[in-house]
Symmetry: C2
Subunit: 462 residues, 2 copies
């Protein structure tokens, strides 16, 4: 499976304030190295873990970062910026270092998923794209993993493309849901771009285009004798199944491969059982029942709990927009500038200062036990550092894994996370994430200094 | 304001089943004209109207529709399709007619937002892209209009880019929220591509990069003496405001333009009042208070109800993903093939058959009174047809309006919709949408015929 993540020039895909800040840093010659840390501040609804995804796009973006002549022309026309700064932007490339968690791995709140160290302007100006890429793809990989677990061992296919939030989202959902354990996607372009297996059969409009349902079934069977799944709910699921069986018998006589039926509406738990009876009663023990229509982890869990007899599922809209948690509270925060550890004190938004590392401790059989967020140069016996140096001086330092390898890594790590962190309940246990003693001390010291310096005069002036 | 909607080759951005169905139609020489209708099946949470957006992208996509050599090479490699069909795809262009509601207009459930009539394969294969473009952009324009109404007459700026679902979504949100009444966006690329006004000042990291908060304020004021809004909540909102006032006085003495402050955390209703007191008490009556941080229509309504003293707002993530309703139930359904009106009978998913038109009836002063969905050739005295012929034989028939004109049309129409349809309550009144007598009769006749034909033998066989 190939993997092409070529991010086109996206330098202008940024918030204007990244550029106004940069202009000011430029005026004040603030080119010292800065470290920014990217992490998720809270668990969204009923989630207790995250699956990393999006790093391949980030690395491609950083390697290709530059403002085109057209970009600079536009910026000039805004009359916001001085010529000197625009000339500086023209030459600007990303020359920093990046530590990051590889894709398809588990992480938890407050843990840096990525840290960038680069001259201040470079590290600042990339903020918007980095959050955009990592937030969304990690959110979808996480959502997909929940669906995969609920359906296990049934296979899932991404059917979300028509209602993803834009076209880029459609591609990213196909990729991220594959990382989170999906078998493939209906998205043909994702098949071409990422080499993800593609799946699909027919819509209701296909049935309607023929004068009779059974004629539609026959025509499809003739055209695709090797791979025939028939959509049976256009008029009535059970009548449709009876007609499908009739066509299946015709195929059998011709030595062709009737695969099964697809249900897309109604009470799937009940209908799937009745459909199974019809199929088995007609001698089609091996025929598969594929279900679709509004599925997500919750509906999968419910339909299976009610005895739904399903072999595989198409999972669409609700997964593709992560409907019950359509954004994560991911932030990218300055934690160090010119060797000075920094943080903001805004309520509920404190950050962990300095260059950091995440250390993972495992129990027997490799089971995930606890993580410790420490300083980058902390030493932890038995704690495995999770963030790899993926970029140095603007050059990618790792060989990007194939998507299939990322998925395999995900399955391996996911199996080692205790089930209590995977339930769909809102009040599930939280995985233990602690701070190292050195980080704790530094943190306390910075808070103290900041309060002295910035708030010391508070009572007096207000 | 310019408007460039150039949709790159997106022919492969489709569900595989569109192509397998097409292959079957090709085998069976099913090239008769088909009509598909695109509409929203239900009102999402607490919504009672929709704002149309996305048509410009759809028209560009249809005009540019073609499979590239690279696309066809990929399809060949999948081994799903026969060479004859791939040769057919190579020459395939969109040659159909499209009726659609222009952008920035109000529509309601079940009303076609767009109808396509084209040879069956052409009309089918475009389904995925059309829903993808119209569903998302209409959803965001609708969400934006709710925020605009809640904040009125305060101005809103789109701050969502970092957490939109992908990069294409970031651009589309900027455009659709402008249609729904926003003043502008932080998204610089959207400024370049669509000519939307861009806004932005500074992040907390800017403050942290300086040794002291007040130094950061001074540096920004020096760099942008014409447009200085200072972010005051990095350490403490009120202390920050006092420092901002100090810098404002310095600017005043230099004859520069201190604009105001931005609040981004804490109890904004309370803080904004205290900040206003400080500003006024220091002689800055004209200074503006800009608020951001987790705003959507609900938070805007609450903060203002609590007496929040705010001049304008940045509205981000929750608007940019339409967080309380992150997808609409938009469908694209075959309603006629080869002159035969068709529908599916799947539970809860009935469709309105035939080529249709939506007629709007207005009361005194132009107030929206009711809509009637009729057949395309229905005649309604006083009912104004809403769907325009925007494309004929694959050629765009209208001059695309400027974005500012679309926004103006939205404001004009929105003012004529009764407030009772605009509340944020879940059980608000529904606007009246009826079926014309002729459509009703045709509908009943098709249901009767289908039941006879497809379900007549049901009791016997199951």
């Amino acid at each position: 499976m190939k993997e092409t993540n070529q991010v086109a020039n996206m330098a202008l895909l940024t918030d204007l304030y990244e550029l106004t800040m940069a202009a000011c840093y430029y005026e004040y010659s603030m080119f010292e190295p800065a470290t920014f840390s990217l992490f998720i501040r809270q668990y969204p609804r009923s989630r207790r873990y995250f699956v990393s995804a999006g790093l391949a796009d980030v690395l491609s973006y950083l390697e290709n970062f530059r403002f085109s002549a057209e970009d600079l022309e536009y910026l000039e026309k805004t009359e916001i910026f001085k010529p000197g700064f625009l000339a500086y932007l023209e030459k600007l490339r990303f020359t920093g270092d990046v530590y990051a968690l590889p894709e398809g791995r588990l992480f938890f709140i407050n843990e840096p998923l990525l840290e960038v160290t680069a001259p201040l302007i470079e590290a600042q100006i990339i903020e918007t794209y980095l959050i955009n890429a990592l937030n969304f793809q990690s959110m979808i990989a996480t959502k997909a993993s929940r669906c995969v677990r609920a359906a296990w061992p049934r296979k899932l296919v991404d059917f979300s493309l028509r209602r993803t939030q834009g076209t880029d989202a459609g591609l990213k959902v196909a990729r991220a849901s594959f990382i989170g354990g999906f078998l493939g996607t209906s998205n043909v372009l994702a098949g071409k771009v990422y080499g993800i297996p593609i799946f699909g059969t027919m819509a209701h409009s296909f049935i309607l285009s023929f004068e009779k349902e059974i004629e539609a079934f026959r025509a499809f069977a003739q055209t695709f004798p090797e791979n025939t799944t028939l959509l049976v709910d256009t008029y009535d699921t059970l009548s449709g199944t009876v007609k499908a069986v009739e066509v299946a018998r015709e195929m059998q006589q011709r030595g062709e491969n009737f695969k099964g039926v697809r249900l897309d509406s109604g009470d799937i738990a009940l209908l799937s059982q009745k459909v199974r009876d019809i199929l088995k009663g007609s001698g089609f023990q091996e025929a598969t029942i594929f279900a679709s229509g509004g599925f997500d982890e919750y509906k999968i869990q419910n339909v299976l709990a009610q005895g739904g007899d399903i072999d595989s599922l198409g999972v669409g809209t609700k997964m593709g927009v992560s409907a019950d948690a359509p954004y994560f509270d991911m932030a990218y925060k300055l934690v160090k500038y010119a060797d000075r550890p920094v943080m903001k004190l805004s309520p509920g938004k404190k950050t962990l200062v300095g260059d950091k590392q995440v250390f993972r401790f495992r129990g027997s059989g490799g089971k995930l036990k606890r993580d410790v967020i420490g300083l980058r140069d902390d030493e932890m016996e038995r704690g495995k550092p999770l963030l790899l140096k993926v970029m140095e001086k603007g050059k990618v330092m790792i060989e990007l894994p194939l998507l299939t390898e990322i998925q395999k890594a995900f399955f391996g790590e996911f199996a080692q996370l205790d089930d209590k962190y995977k339930t769909l309940e809102s009040r599930a246990s939280k995985y233990s994430v602690q701070l190292s003693p050195r980080l704790k001390r530094l943190q306390a010291q910075v808070v103290r200094e900041l309060k002295d310096r910035e708030l010391g005069d508070k009572d007096e002036t207000i």
